[in-house]
Amino acid sequence: MFKYFEPNKIFSITSKAPKYVLALFLIIFTIGLIESLVLSPEDYKQSHSVRIMYVHVPAAWITLGIFSSITLLSIVGYIFKIKNFFLISKSLAPSGFIFNIIALVTGSIWGKPTWGTWWAWDARITSMLILALFYGLYLLAWRIYQDKEQVFKITCLITILGIINVPIIKYSVDWWNTLHQPASINILSKSSIHSSMLFPLMIMTAAFALFSLLIFLMKYNTELIKIKNKGLDRL
């Protein structure tokens, strides 16, 4: 199993992948933008501001997904001492952070015309802000600590502290009274979002996921090149 983690073998794949991912991202993103900005209908109540949702919701999903993946990789990496998992986590974090900020900003832009306020200290919005702070801490830890063993432990601890927040974000709208509306899309029951709006949402989610993958591959390649150049450091 561990021989697949040889940097040269991984690099031969990941160094070629970005251009294909970029091409695919551009195609899917173009379709997503046309679908969500032009072809999809306006909402019966919010009219055109519903289109902000096609950026807001995928961004929020991706940022939660990335934080969960980072946590899982860090914990497994810490338990079995797999260095590669930490580098994957490190490379995933920047796009997760960016999508967290995008979710907060687009939510704010949507909130002004819909709710009548830019910001509300309700449970969903506050817990999302806390997630952004944890992303910030995580990224800072990689910058500040030089010693590898030390940074692995610290980032693992940050993700464990932060992951408690993820179910709170997900269920905050069900547990407490919040200004933020409950989830429209349920896996088990019928979704309260019309299919003509669900389709562009899914396309945009795919596009954002590809964008995250692209940024991840670029970051990860940089890490691998660093290791190759040093010659000493191994995965």
């Binding site: 306006e42 709710w115 009548g116 449970a123 407490w176 200004l179 989830a183 979002i193 019309h194 709006m197």
Partner: protein
């Protein structure tokens, strides 16, 4: 299969997760009154004494309850069990409508009367095109 050290690390991380979740749960449980963004009219009915703090009341704007005067707007917030009268002067958001969700921020005069300083519209989780809404309305 795995060494004793690996097992210890697994147990330790599980322990951290359990203790953290438990403490966060207890903190949130004890601070529940501060975590909720607004109270419903029924919860207002149950409070023992009226404090002069800014609070938020949320619910549905009762049908046919909005009356607009020259300088103020009066309406009733209901949670279908209890109701509260709200007076507000200022601009209401576009989505403020009868039969839709609303959150009013302001001061309680008494348990039935609320003086709002800010009105927020609450959007529900339903998204659909206008044609679909009309079709649903005709049913």
């Amino acid at each position: 299969m795995y060494g004793r050290k690996v097992k210890l690390r697994v147990l330790y991380i599980l322990l951290i997760l359990i203790i953290l979740s438990l403490s966060i749960f207890l903190i949130l449980k004890s601070l529940e009154q501060n975590v909720i963004y607004f109270q419903s009219p029924s919860e207002i009915k149950n409070i023992s004494e009226i404090e002069n703090n800014k609070i938020r009341v949320g619910g549905m704007v009762k049908k046919n309850s909005i009356s607009i005067n020259s300088d103020e707007i009066n309406f009733i917030i209901t949670d279908l069990k209890n109701e509260i009268y709200v007076t507000y002067s200022g601009v209401v958001p576009n989505l403020f409508e009868e039969g839709k969700g609303v959150v009013a921020e302001g001061y309680l005069k008494d348990k039935n009367f609320f003086l709002a300083t800010k009105i927020l519209a609450k959007h529900d989780e339903n998204y659909m095109p206008p044609e679909v809404k009309e079709a649903l309305g005709e049913k």
